[in-house]
């Protein structure tokens, strides 16, 4: 019975890859450590359409960054390995692609930016040289053309005096300017997909607003899709069309952004939303999710959120599969219906400590 169910579920979760710019099916990324196998990404499926923004949210260690790294096969091997699944970019399965062919896609069709731009920029070259290098490698342009393009890109990301700034070394730029330079490099080849891993987490809030603004504008101008990995639900609300909420290596909820905030259906999503202090909420204690994230080498056999969940029923000792709560709204919880109908976020008797 459960086998049939899982097959049905498996099939229904696979959309025709041709609809999607990127389609990830049942991705598994594991790490072999002394303590055992860390299932960082454990059966993640999602798709993203051209030009759209997908937000992946979750707390540290939930597997959101490793999902992104797996797409470009940037997971350090060993100890990491992609243990299963398929990742279709247009019609190509990136996981079976030879390294040389993958290098053609990286930087050209799919680009990535990281949280700390200083670690991804080379300190001994000027930012202009580094962007020009990317242009020359991917576009086979001559030096002068590449340099001109690099100045043009710096202007596109809103760096004032781009011609002078191109001659600066990374340490001469502020954090926000460095992140702009990284974005300029990432968009140098008009990628169809940009993966941004916590691009504004290290930045101050006024600078964050600038960078998000740049990303939004570039997306409009270039029509690229964006995967935005963040722990900040506010950023997701402002930027994303669709959202993936991850917990302990799995997707626990997946829907469009309006539905996610209007009708969060997984207890983890609901807890997460309630625990964020906002500028508009009223006083009182913040709701909390008690306990801590489970040890990734020893996930509970059943629902992975059960030890911290206030709604535990007997069925939670079984592994939970993603259920269709509505068209395009999937929830990994057997009790989602009772939870959204049941009103209060917290019951009086917390099951766990």
């Amino acid at each position: 019975m459960s086998l049939i169910l899982s097959i049905i579920n498996h099939q229904s979760s696979i959309t025709n890859p041709k609809d999607m710019l990127l389609q990830v099916n049942d991705l598994k990324t594991y790490f072999d450590t002394d303590e055992g196998v860390v299932r960082a990404v454990d059966g993640v499926s999602f798709g993203i359409e051209a030009g759209k923004t997908l937000g992946i949210v979750g707390e540290s260690g939930c597997g959101k960054s490793m999902t992104a790294y797996s797409i470009l096969r940037l997971v350090p091997q060993p100890p990491g390995r992609i243990a299963g699944g398929e990742i279709f970019f247009e019609d190509t399965n990136l996981l079976t692609l030879p390294d040389r062919a993958l290098r053609e896609i990286r930087g050209n069709d799919i680009a990535m930016i990281f949280q700390e731009p200083m670690t991804s920029l080379n300190p001994v070259f000027t930012v202009g040289e580094q962007i020009a290098e990317a242009v020359r490698l991917h576009r086979k342009a001559d030096r002068q053309t590449a340099w001109n393009r690099s100045v043009e890109l710096l202007e596109m990301v809103g760096i004032p005096l781009p011609e002078e700034r191109a001659k600066s070394y990374p340490h001469e730029l502020s954090g926000g300017m460095r992140q702009r330079a990284m974005i300029a490099m990432a968009i140098s080849c008009d990628p169809k997909l940009l993966i941004a891993d916590e691009p504004t987490t290290a930045l101050d809030v006024t600078i964050q607003a600038q960078i998000l603004d740049v990303l939004r504008r570039l997306q409009d101008e270039l029509g690229m899709a964006l995967i935005l990995i963040t722990h900040d639900l506010g950023v997701v609300a402002e930027m994303a069309h669709d959202v993936l909420v991850m917990y302990a290596g799995q997707v626990v909820e997946q829907t469009d952004v309006v539905t996610l905030f209007a009708q969060p259906s997984h207890p983890y999503t609901r807890g997460l939303l309630a625990s964020v202090p906002t500028l508009i909420m009223e006083e009182g204690d913040l709701a909390t999710i008690e306990g801590i994230v489970p040890d990734p080498t020893r996930y509970p056999a059943g629902c992975r959120f059960a030890p911290r969940c206030d709604f535990v029923v007997e069925a939670c000792s079984e592994p939970q599969r993603l259920q269709e709560a509505a068209t395009g709204h999937q929830v990994r919880c057997g009790a989602w219906k009772q939870i959204i109908e049941g009103g209060p976020l917290k019951t009086n008797e917390p099951i766990s400590q």
């Binding site: 101050d204 997460l272 008690e290």
Partner: protein, 334 residues
């Protein structure tokens, strides 16, 4: 919450300047004015949120008040009891000498952002919590274990964990240990420097709730330093906004968040992402970066990024002025 209006801390015109390395042939070493004339008061039982972006001097201000750094100028007066007989007197923090300063440290404690960096990895939690008790002669040896158990229970940790080492705990649990250590000496003032910034949101909420609960239980006063306006709104009674070493606006929390007067506060608030995808906002996006603090602009430090700047903003430094109900703003235009 603040019931009594008794004053605990009065900081006036606090300055901390650092002289920078400078080159071999540079005649004059550049001076970084990290804190440049900051004044505020803190009532007993109150939480004052000190917000600002990186490099605005909020952390330095906290450290100078604790005398972890020596001030360049200014005064800080704390009204507290040094000898433990309950009689409170006003003391000038910056003129206290060795022994008196040691006694004062009992009354002012700090909670750091990175609890792991502030806990000695070779000491068990029990030893970490006993240390301040022994240093200040607060607890006889035979009662130490009981007191440690009490402290761990207060911050909702398992007393059996006293035998464990800091690395065996998660980030949130370590921050609880950091808080327990600050509480050990029963201080009146806790300066919390970005205490939840390194934590995940669900854990953040646990720590914020704990801090609020402890404040009520022990009548603590907090100087809560943070860059996160959402967290500050949640925990503070009053908020002071810093920019380039100066306080640009101070007000009661609701007042400040509902009606920010300084253009910088306004921009800062409008930059905070809100978890509501249906909201349409007119966002003020500031241009440019915070200026280099070794060469701050003349006049109002915010004028190069301010949309409302006038000619005099480039010349005169605006003073903090009361616009009513203790809402202080340093701006020529409002």
């Amino acid at each position: 919450m603040n019931q009594s209006s008794e004053q605990l801390l009065d900081v006036r015109d606090l300055k901390k300047h650092f002289s920078m390395g400078g080159g071999l042939f540079q005649r004059q070493k550049p001076v970084l004015k990290a804190v440049d004339g900051v004044s505020f008061t803190l009532q007993r039982g109150e939480t004052l949120g000190l917000v600002g972006e990186s490099g605005c001097g909020k952390t330095t201000a906290g450290r100078v008040i604790l005398r972890l750094l020596e001030p360049t100028a200014g005064t800080a007066t704390i009204t507290t009891s040094l000898n433990g007989n309950g009689e409170r007197h006003a003391y000038d923090i910056f003129s206290l000498k060795k022994e008196a300063l040691r006694l004062l440290r009992r009354q002012m404690q700090i909670v750091f952002q990175d609890p792991y960096g502030s806990l000695n990895p070779r000491m068990t939690v029990g030893a970490l919590l006993s240390e301040p008790l022994t240093v200040h002669n607060l607890t006889p040896k035979n009662e130490l274990d009981d007191r440690v158990t009490e402290l761990l229970t207060t911050v909702r940790l398992n007393p059996a964990h006293a035998r464990r080492y800091p690395h065996e705990f998660s980030g949130g649990q370590r921050q609880r240990i950091g808080i327990a250590r600050a509480l050990a000496v029963q201080p009146e003032l806790i300066i919390a420097d970005e205490p939840v910034s390194a934590l995940d949101v669900s854990i953040q909420a646990q720590i914020i709730n704990l801090l609020k609960e402890l404040q009520e239980k022990f009548q603590l006063s907090y100087l809560f330093i943070s860059h996160d306006l959402r967290v500050v709104k949640h925990i503070s009674d009053r908020v002071a906004v810093m920019y380039l070493g100066k306080i640009v606006e101070t007000a009661e929390k609701h007042q400040l968040y509902r009606q920010p007067l300084h253009p910088y506060t306004e921009a800062l608030l409008s930059a905070v992402p809100l978890p509501d995808p249906t909201l349409q906002r007119n966002r003020i996006i500031l241009t440019g970066d915070v200026p280099n603090p070794t060469a701050p602009p003349p006049g109002c430090p915010f004028h190069p990024r301010c949309a409302r700047a006038e000619a005099r903003c480039k010349v005169d430094v605006p003073a903090l002025e009361d616009k009513g109900d203790g809402h202080l703003v340093a701006c020529h235009v409002v």
